[in-house]
């Protein structure tokens, strides 16, 4: 019987090595596997390269505590600096945290490419900007494109809404974001899921991530991301 469920976050995080590249899902707090990142802090792996959209804010959330603990060598992301990204700012200014800044769509496509066996592709994004520096330019049908390479990971940390024992997943609403493509792009995909369901409960047409992409699932019924009703522009 295929059973990818593990009993604890500690078990889910076993074997992550120093020097690993670790992807984490989420767009802000939504679809972000905060409990697994907490588990990664406990687990102890260091010299990590992180791949995700944001670099966290405040000083309390697990992603920020992982950074603050000096466990991350480099972060690949599109939006490191935001209101409250104080720890990232401090570490980066102090030269203690390398940044590879990638436009959000290029980041998503590079991750998807890794999962889909595409080593590199051309994109119009960032041509003619400072982020094109050092990148190969190619003209195709009169337009200029940059060559971008796939980003593979050793580990992907994913938040799902439902999971079954095969690792079939669904995501809730905009919690989907980077999670499905990261699940494809890593050798070891670890999932925290709000709900565990029986095999077959997710209809074949409703599976967002086939279990083939998933190695471990842990049940984390934490209730959902904090709300943000702020109306500020």
């Amino acid at each position: 019987m295929i059973d990818k469920r593990v009993k604890s976050i500690a078990e889910a995080m076993q074997g992550i090595k120093d020097g690993s590249t670790v992807m984490f899902g989420g767009f802000g707090a939504v679809g972000h596997p905060a409990h697994l990142i907490d588990g990664l802090i406990e687990q102890g792996a260091k010299d990590l390269t992180l791949v995700g959209n944001n670099a966290g804010s405040g000083r309390v959330e697990p992603l920020v505590r992982l950074l603050a603990a000096g466990r991350v060598r480099k972060i690949i992301c599109s939006f490191p600096r935001s209101a409250g990204s104080v720890v990232f700012d401090e570490l980066h200014k102090a030269g203690k945290l390398e940044l590879e800044l990638v436009p959000q769509g290029t980041l998503a496509e590079r991750i998807r490419a890794a999962g889909a066996g595409i080593p590199a592709f051309y994109t119009p994004t960032a041509y003619g900007t400072a982020l094109a520096e050092g990148k190969e330019v190619r003209e195709i049908n009169g337009r200029h494109y940059l060559l971008e390479h796939a980003i593979r990971a050793d580990v992907a940390l994913v938040e799902a809404y439902q999971a079954d024992r095969w690792g079939n997943l669904t995501y809730k609403l905009s919690g989907r974001n980077f999670n499905p493509i990261m699940a494809m792009a890593a050798s070891l995909t670890i999932v925290q899921s709000q709900h565990m369901v029986e095999l077959g409960d997710i209809g074949p047409e409703d599976v967002h991530t086939p279990g083939v992409f998933v190695q471990r699932v842990v049940h984390v019924p934490y209730g959902g991301p904090a709300s943000n009703l702020a109306t500020a522009g």
């Binding site: 436009p103 991750i111 119009p124 900007t129 991301p225 943000n228 522009g233």
Partner: protein, 227 residues
């Protein structure tokens, strides 16, 4: 211009600059029913308040097609946020995709219009909106570069001048570009301008404003749009 777009106070010279809401409403007038539109965070997001009665589909780059307004305490759904991480509602007919599909939609030319803010817009359509310095502090880029090259049209909405009165419409951008030759139209508190083959072309001006006054606040030559 709708009733909800409150007028900004007249200036000393009798010119009545448009308020942010008025500029957003002016832009919204030019969005036909049926377009799929991505609005940047902040000023651009105001545009969504002024398309009532028409079906315009708002896309958010985190994978929402058919975004409604900001959520209220009654409608809140924790797993549903816009690109600014604010909780939002969905409209009937909405759909959800993952990030690679969302940016595939954007980069693939399936978004009719993207509206962004900017620090600077140049007469050839270059624009800068992602960082004021590559050396001082850490920039964030987000999805702006993808939206700029991918959407069928890129319109900028911004104040005509900076807080200290310097023109933001220029011959050339000084700041690091978000994308070259991308902007097709600019909406400010003073004017609506197309980026034409010879530079900025004025389509509309705030009440009481003359071309001379507008030119004085603009860092590149203006001409009237041939009608």
């Amino acid at each position: 211009m709708t009733a909800t777009a409150a007028r900004a106070p007249a200036t000393a010279e009798g010119v009545k600059p448009w308020s942010r809401a008025q500029a957003a409403a002016r832009l919204a007038q030019d969005i036909p029913e049926g377009w799929c539109v991505n609005l940047g965070i902040g000023f651009p997001l105001l545009v969504s308040n002024f398309v009532k009665g028409r079906e315009v589909i708002f896309q958010s780059e985190n994978g929402i097609i058919g975004m409604g307004g900001l959520a209220t305490a009654e409608t809140i759904e924790p797993w549903l946020v816009n690109a600014g991480k604010q909780n939002v509602n969905l409209v009937k007919g909405a759909s959800i995709v993952h990030h690679a599909d969302s940016f595939g939609m954007i980069r693939g030319g399936h978004i009719d219009l993207c509206v962004l803010g900017a620090f600077e817009v140049a007469a050839d359509g270059d624009f800068a909106n992602w960082t004021t310095s590559l050396t001082d502090g850490v920039p964030a880029v987000g999805g702006a570069m993808d939206l700029a090259v991918g959407a069928k049209r890129l319109w900028i909405i911004m104040d005509h001048t900076s807080k200290d009165g310097r023109p933001k419409l220029l011959e050339r951008c000084d700041l690091p570009l978000t994308a070259p030759k991308a902007v097709t139209r600019v909406y400010t508190n003073l004017a609506v301008l197309d980026v034409g083959p010879q530079g900025f072309e004025v389509l509309d001006m705030a009440p009481g404003l003359t071309m001379e006054e507008l030119q004085a606040k603009t860092g590149a030559p203006l001409r009237r749009k041939a009608s």
